[in-house]
Structures are given as structure tokens and as C-alpha cells.
Symmetry: C2
Subunit: 331 residues, 2 copies
């Protein structure tokens, strides 16, 4: 049995979609227990809409909420009774195996490090979302808040990402690449040039060299290693270009009668692509290298994404990912 | 009359499409003269297909070609009779106002600096492509080869980009933003945090603060300032996500009968979007801050893009962009 603490107050659709997602996760999997963290009366009201196994859904009251715009460090330190702080403490105290939040990314990242704490040997815990590609998904690591990383950090990202893709996503010998502005070995900025030979030396990962950003959507690598600033830009651009293109296609089609009929007929095909390239389909992004598991799901998550993010915690815990990370980094 | 030296040997479709593009540019505009640089016999053979104003199309023989994979510095130094070196010398010797190439980006960037030379006061000449957006185009500056820039370089990029967008593209008081991982002033990596207050102090640009990568496709800023590594990743991802999505949509539509009929009807609308979001529509990317004008067009350019890149040189020269840059940076 896996226990997942869920931030019932975080995200654009809290608490409605979060509570629904948690109830759905418990209904789908008999090996999951959920602790909904947040304002008790709000959660109770939402829960009253559903029938569910009461043994496996509990409420943990937290009176405060950290809003998206708040400065992360100050909010984690100041709001001791917020759903994020109380939820993370559940992980720290081993009352929960994992914590899932759709709330403030900054607060989850800072709180994860300050409260859950890092695995021995981990220098920086990276945020590692799965990106949809033509071939499936790729892990982009790091997209977090710890910018200006050093080469030793990137080497750890490569190892942690490789373990995650192999044992949680199920890809044998994941192809690890470093995000670069050319494929030749001498290309890159100072950080990439310093990191490249270090990755080449790692015998425990399947390093395939540099990847250009153009190749990411085609699925040219399973683990894409980068510094957080670049990773964050890439992640957000991925979302932005996709959603703008879809909007434009819709608009263009609906601007003519012929296009409208075409759109009607093509709708199922378009939806299929839209779904495939929707990052939210793939559960939340794990913050790797922490004691326990902390998962940041998209702020706009609906019940389905919350359910996916919760279920994802099972494989992570069962596969003892943290033990594997500990072994790998302290070898 | 503007004279543009054109690298007839550079790019995937050279010399066929390059020569065609040059002939078309001369046909379209009576104020353009073109010097086709490259292997004389190859160029003559292509030119023989067309009728054109012989007064305004000349050939300058260059026996060597720099291939895309070659190391830039070595190739510029070693291949003195290459089309890139000979073409750039035309600019240096004021035989041409501009040089357009679809060849090796690295060689054009290095050669531009070494041969054409920098405008007094310019620290680094940035490569500044126009990105298609919902509202029109935005300038992403720098996407070049000079990675690991300092804040003083980024401030110059902002000024040069602003001048370009105002006087070549025709946008009054262009909105200048810095590419960042959040919109709050305290967000960013060390470089962005250092650059932000410097941009805020510039009275000659319309600085609107930070822009997240997600907002680029919607056209939230006219000039997007960034360091070259990040810019290059953003540019290539822009291309990659767009082309993968279009491919996926096509594939999904053609996989069912219903979708096929829909695709047939929707084709004009889809083409319209594809065209709008095709970066190659917008001519080449100028390398700003050099004596004369050096334009790098996409390696896959066809005649139309070559024509656009050549025509773009007229406004640049007529608007005396380089004088404006010189004044701005030495004020």
C-alpha cells in the first residue's frame, strides 16, 4: 500500500478537480491511500459528492494556502500551516510516500528541498517533466528553479533521469543526450563543453552525445540533460508553440465554410494529435533526488491529470527509485 | 541602387534555387543589383534558364565551397577563394552593400566578424532571426554562435534589435523584453538578473520587462533579448515543434477515410497556418552590428526565401541602420 499526500488547495481547479482526481485514483487502484491536505470543510464538501473507500481517503487539515505569485522561500517559511508545508511534512515524517501538488512551482521546489530534504549525495534536485514526442515521451531534466548549474550537477541529472526513465517509464537503456546548439563535440557553451566529456565517461548511462532542440519533438533521446534556465525556456516554448498552432489551425478552419466542414470531419484526428502532444497527459513532473517523492503537476490540471500524477507515485515507490539514485550517486 | 552579393553555392538547394531567387529579386525590384558569387560555370548554367536584366546580375567567380560541417574558423582562414570569403570581401571593399548566404551558419558568423568587421562600439554582432507569431513577427536576438554573453552584450542586442524592428520591419516603439523563466523582477539566472536593471535604465528602448517562452508565439514582445545558447535552443525548438505537429496532424488525418475528406476540405486553411508559421517566409536573419549587412538565410531556403532575403537588404541600407546603430551605441 502506497500513501500519497495530495495538496487539495493547489492549482487553478482546486479543490474541485483535485479531490475528484484523488477519489478516481483510489477507485482505480486498490494499492493507493490518499491524504487530502487543505481546508477541512472545503475538502469535506467536495468529498460528499462521491462514494469512495473511506479507509483509503483521509483528510489532513491545513488552514493556509500558498498562492502562485508569492515568493517561494518566504511563503514556505511563513506559512507553516499551508497545504504545501503540511503535505511535505507528511513525506518527511514518513506518514506518506509521496506528495503531489498542482500549486506554486517555486514553493514546491523550495519546500521539497527544505522540508523533505535531499538524498545523501544529491547536490541539486532537478524538476524533470515528461515531454510528448512522436515516439512517446522524453524526460527533460532540469526545468526547475535552480538555475546556473555546474557540470557536476548535470552529470547527476543524467544519472537520475536515466534511472527514472528505465524503471518508472519502462525504457530499457534510455538514450541520454545533452541539449546543445550543434551535434559536434566541440559545440556548445562553457557548461556543455565541460559536461560533455564527463557524461562520455559515465559507464552507467547510455550517453549518445548532443541533441539539438529541433530534434526533441521527434523523440531523438529519452533523457535530455540541460541547465534549468534553458530547460524551463524549452518546456514553456513547447507548450506555447503547440497551443498557438492549434488555436491558429482552429481559427483558420472556422473562417471559411469549406474549412468548417473540413474541421468537423477532421475533428477526431485533430483531437488525437492534440491529446498526444498535451504535456498534461503524462502526470506530473517529479522533483528527483529528494527523500520520498515530490511531484509537481501542472497548475491547470484537471481530475484526470491529478489521478495520473498520483498513480505515477506507485511505480516510483515500488521500483525503489530513491535507493537506486542513492547507490548510483554514491558509487 | 543597392548591390547584394549572394552566395550561389551555400545551402541545400544551391545553386539552382539561389540563382532563381536572385533573378526573381532583380525582376521584382528595379533598385537591386545582384552579384552571384561561386563557381562560374555552375552559375552560368543556371542563369541560362532565365531572361533577366544583364546590367543588374553579375557573376563573381569563387572556386571553393565551405561545407556545412566544416569548422568555421579554419574554413574561413583556409578557403580564401570560397564563395563566403569572396562574398564577404565584396562587402568589406564596399563593392556590395550586403551579403546573403544560405550556407554554413558558423562560417558566415565567423567570416562576418573577421572579414566585414564590426561597427565601432559593437562588442558582439548578434544573429537576429524573425519568428512568426500570432500578431506578425518578433525578433529573437541573439541566436548566433557567440555563447556565454555578458550583460553589456545583451544591452547592445536590445538597442540594435529595437532599431531593426522600428526601421526595417516598421514597428513603432517596439516592445523589448528579456527572455526569462518568470515575469517577476527577481526571477532569472545570474545573467538575466544583472541585465534586467540595465535594460530598465535605457531611455532609448521601450523595455517591457521579462517574457516567458510560453508567450513568444502569441507575439507578446517585438524584440526578445537572450543569450545565444538559449536563443538557439528556442529558435530550433520553434521550428521542431511546428514541423512535428504539422506532420502528426497530416498523419492522423490520413489514417481514416473521414479524416481524409476533412483534410481535403481543410487543406487551404492548414496551408495558410503552415505558411504563417514558417520561419523561412520572413527572409534571412541579419547579423547585426557589422560594417555593411550580412544576412544568413535558412539552409533549406528555396528561391522565394532567397528573394525575400535579398529584398530585405534594401530597407536595411536605405534606412541607414548601421548609422543608427553606431549613434546609439556610441552615445
Amino acid at each position: 500500500m502506497i500513501t500519497v499526500a495530495v495538496d487539495a488547495m493547489g492549482g487553478d481547479n482546486a479543490p474541485v478537480e483535485i479531490v475528484k482526481g484523488a477519489v478516481d485514483a483510489v477507485a482505480k487502484r486498490s494499492d493507493i491511500k490518499v491524504t487530502l491536505v487543505g481546508r477541512k470543510t472545503d475538502i469535506e464538501q467536495e468529498l460528499s459528492k462521491y462514494t469512495y473507500d473511506r479507509e483509503r481517503v483521509q483528510i489532513l487539515h491545513a488552514s493556509e494556502v500558498i498562492e502562485t505569485g508569492e515568493p517561494p522561500v518566504a511563503s514556505i517559511r511563513g506559512k507553516k500551516d499551508s497545504s504545501i508545508v503540511v503535505g511535505l511534512k507528511q513525506v518527511k515524517d514518513k506518514q506518506a510516500d509521496a506528495f503531489v501538488s498542482c500549486g506554486s512551482t517555486g514553493a514546491v521546489l523550495v519546500g521539497g528541498q527544505l522540508i523533505a530534504g535531499k538524498i545523501k549525495g544529491v547536490k541539486r534536485p532537478p524538476l524533470a517533466p515528461l515531454l510528448p514526442t512522436e515516439k512517446g515521451v522524453s524526460l527533460l531534466i532540469d526545468c526547475g528553479a535552480n538555475v546556473d548549474a555546474r557540470s557536476e550537477h548535470l552529470v547527476q541529472f543524467a544519472k537520475m533521469g536515466s534511472i527514472y526513465m528505465e524503471h518508472v517509464v519502462g525504457i530499457r537503456k534510455p538514450r541520454v543526450a545533452i541539449l546543445n546548439i550543434g551535434v559536434e563535440e566541440e559545440k556548445g557553451n562553457a557548461l556543455v563543453k565541460e559536461t560533455y566529456p564527463l557524461l562520455k565517461e559515465c559507464s552507467d548511462i547510455n550517453f549518445i552525445g548532443s541533441i539539438e532542440a529541433r530534434e526533441i519533438p521527434s523523440g531523438a533521446a529519452d533523457v535530455i540533460v540541460c541547465e534549468a534556465f534553458v530547460g524551463n525556456v524549452a518546456l514553456k516554448l513547447y507548450e506555447g508553440v503547440g497551443s498557438t498552432l492549434m488555436k491558429q489551425i482552429k481559427g483558420a478552419m472556422l473562417s471559411s465554410f469549406r474549412g468548417k466542414i473540413g474541421a468537423l470531419l477532421a475533428k477526431p484526428s485533430l483531437k488525437q494529435v492534440l491529446k498526444k502532444f498535451d504535456a498534461s497527459e503524462y502526470g506530473g513532473a517529479p522533483l528527483l533526488g529528494l527523500n520520498g517523492l515530490v511531484v509537481k503537476a501542472h497548475g491547470s490540471s484537471k481530475a484526470k491529470e491529478v489521478t495520473n500524477a498520483i498513480i505515477q507515485c506507485v511505480a516510483f515507490t515500488e521500483q525503489k527509485i530513491n535507493d537506486k539514485i542513492r547507490e548510483s550517486l554514491n558509487a
